[in-house]
């Protein structure tokens, strides 16, 4: 069965600082990997996705993620965080029939 681990429950960074959110997955085949962001009171919005090909993927809002098969990781990065990036971030692995499994989320707080 597939699983996703987000080791960091809560991360605080200063505005303008760089960010890395960790995600580790367990899946038997080549995974489809996603990062979603949830702003307070909102639904989840897709930030970026990895299906195949280039292991460094670019997303919206200046985010990128790197797929590392050897480490079973798909970490999310942003070089300079903005106050509006404060939100909940979910890593997910997709599978056949669309049964995605989500990590438990990482709450990002941005200090002024």
């Amino acid at each position: 069965a597939q699983s996703v681990t987000q080791p960091d429950i809560h991360i605080t960074v200063s505005e303008g600082a760089s960010l890395e959110l960790r995600c580790n997955y367990s899946y038997g085949a080549t995974p489809y990997l996603f990062w979603y962001v949830q702003s307070p009171g909102q639904g989840l919005q897709l930030l970026l996705k990895y299906f195949s090909g280039d292991t460094l993927v670019q997303g919206i809002k200046g985010f990128e993620a790197e797929f590392k098969r050897s480490q079973s990781s798909f970490n999310l990065r942003k070089p300079s965080v903005h106050w509006s990036d404060a939100a909940e971030y979910f890593c997910a692995v997709g599978a056949e029939a669309g049964k995605s499994t989500f990590g438990d989320g990482t709450t990002l707080t941005v200090k002024p």
């Binding site: 997910a92 599978a95 029939a97 049964k99 989320g105």
Partner: protein, 115 residues
Amino acid sequence: DTAVSQTPKYLVTQMGNDKSIKCEQNLGHDTMYWYKQDSKKFLKIMFSYNNKELIINETVPNRFSPKSPDKAHLNLHINSLELGDSAVYFCASSPIGGLNTGELFFGEGSRLTVL
């Protein structure tokens, strides 16, 4: 134009009541889902429909009954509401295009509070 829309956005009700949440998507997707997000923000899939046919039914009490009148709509009816049903319920859809990768498009959620 909202891609995945849910109504109502907020629901406050008493234990034992029956309530429904409606969902509509205008993306032309074949597959729709209901997810439950608890107070700790954990997301769990409840149901999935592909073109009106139930394809995923996780371990959910029988009090929860999804209905899909057509592939653009997926409603959730909950009977005999319990305190533990309090959560945010998200509707989502995904394209299939021959291979469903699990990429999801979410509605804004319906916050259910059972008193």
